[in-house]
Symmetry: C2
Subunit: 224 residues, 2 copies
């Protein structure tokens, strides 16, 4: 493949990642709406839509491997291909987590899955998780490592809400099934945030060639 074709292939891979992230953001947005409104049909569409995200993952991974085999990229080109491998896996996982939110909506339908005392906090967690995924999309599209800092700040807020959910359970929830549901939902959103932060950090790697260790998921257990 002549060099210009290789450059084009790399550009296509970047565009694929941006598009995959757009699908993932859509899944999170719809899962949020389904959760807030106990919308079973919308939850079903999130669940069935996950297959398309999985297909993107498979395609990006195969393209990355093909590019490595055919083009033997080095330096920043190699970093881009390796990053595509890693971030497509992370986005696929984010899609799974949005699906899990939707699965819980379906399970509790026609009831609202989130009990009243935690509703406001959970809505805000969904909003922040979506902002993080959208921010990760911006990091992917612009390859601007500065976006990474903004994501860390958003994620700190999300982690604080994760703690608040456990406080709410302790103080205001008496039904153990509600406690289970809130624990899972809060954990799903918290993990979505972690994955998006990871995308930002990997974009920093693309720009600098320096690998920041993820060190994610430091706040897994925050039950006081």
């Amino acid at each position: 493949m002549p060099r210009t074709n290789f450059t084009r292939a790399l550009g296509e891979m970047s565009a694929q990642m941006v598009e995959m992230n757009r699908l993932v953001a859509h899944a999170v947005r719809e899962a949020n709406r389904a959760l807030g409104a106990a919308d079973g049909a919308l939850a079903e569409s999130v669940i069935s839509g996950d297959a398309l995200i999985d297909a993107f993952y498979a395609e990006i991974e195969q393209n990355a491997i093909d590019l490595l085999a055919r083009e033997s990229p080095v330096a920043s080109d190699l970093r881009l291909v390796v990053t595509a491998l890693q971030l497509s896996a992370s986005m696929e996982r984010t899609g799974d987590l949005a699906r899990h939110v939707a699965e819980l909506v379906r399970m509790r339908y026609p009831e609202l899955a989130v009990p009243a005392p935690a509703r406001e906090t959970m809505t805000e967690m969904g909003r922040l998780a979506l902002a993080l995924v959208e921010g990760a999309g911006e990091a992917l599209a612009t390859q601007d490592p500065g976006v990474s800092q903004d994501l860390e700040v958003l994620d700190d807020s999300l982690d604080a809400l994760h703690v608040r959910v456990f406080e709410t359970i302790r103080l205001e929830i008496t039904d153990t099934q509600e406690a289970v549901d809130l624990t899972l939902l809060s954990r799903y959103y918290e993990r979505i945030g972690d994955h998006s932060v990871g995308v930002g950090r990997r974009m920093g790697y693309l720009a600098t060639g320096r690998l920041d260790r993820p060190g994610e998921d430091a706040h897994a257990v925050t039950v006081a």
Copy 2:
């Protein structure tokens, strides 16, 4: 690098992955013991030991990228390097999950973190999760795709216990904090199983060149 040196470098990478898995299995084993005995000191050692697992991840990833840059591997050599990138990430994550179990032990110390009605099930979950990690190590060491099938069977048993924990919560647990703790622990073990199954599948990829999509974590929410 002459070809024989490259072959040696690939062999070293495989050995590193086996060694990393051995550390991860150790973490899961010790987390299980700490959980069963409310052993705070053991929990601390699992928590602090996670840094070594993270360091292995960083080293394997850097080695993989260096090999891609220097050697431009193709075919099965390329697959091995790409697999090393993916599986080191997955093993790092399994180490995090073992750490989370230990963190919960520390948080509840000197009390037992698992309430009596769920103790037997949780012990069995820990045993199965460890067997899965050890099986993943066998898959790594032997590159035998047949091990993958055994892992799927073990993981089905682990998923069944995950469901049983939610049943136990529903029928026998009245304290919401106990419900939260059990939900998190069960989810951690269930995810450890998924990661190990993923290792087995990727080993199949090494042997066949055919990428089975992970499709993992199908049983995230199983509260009836």
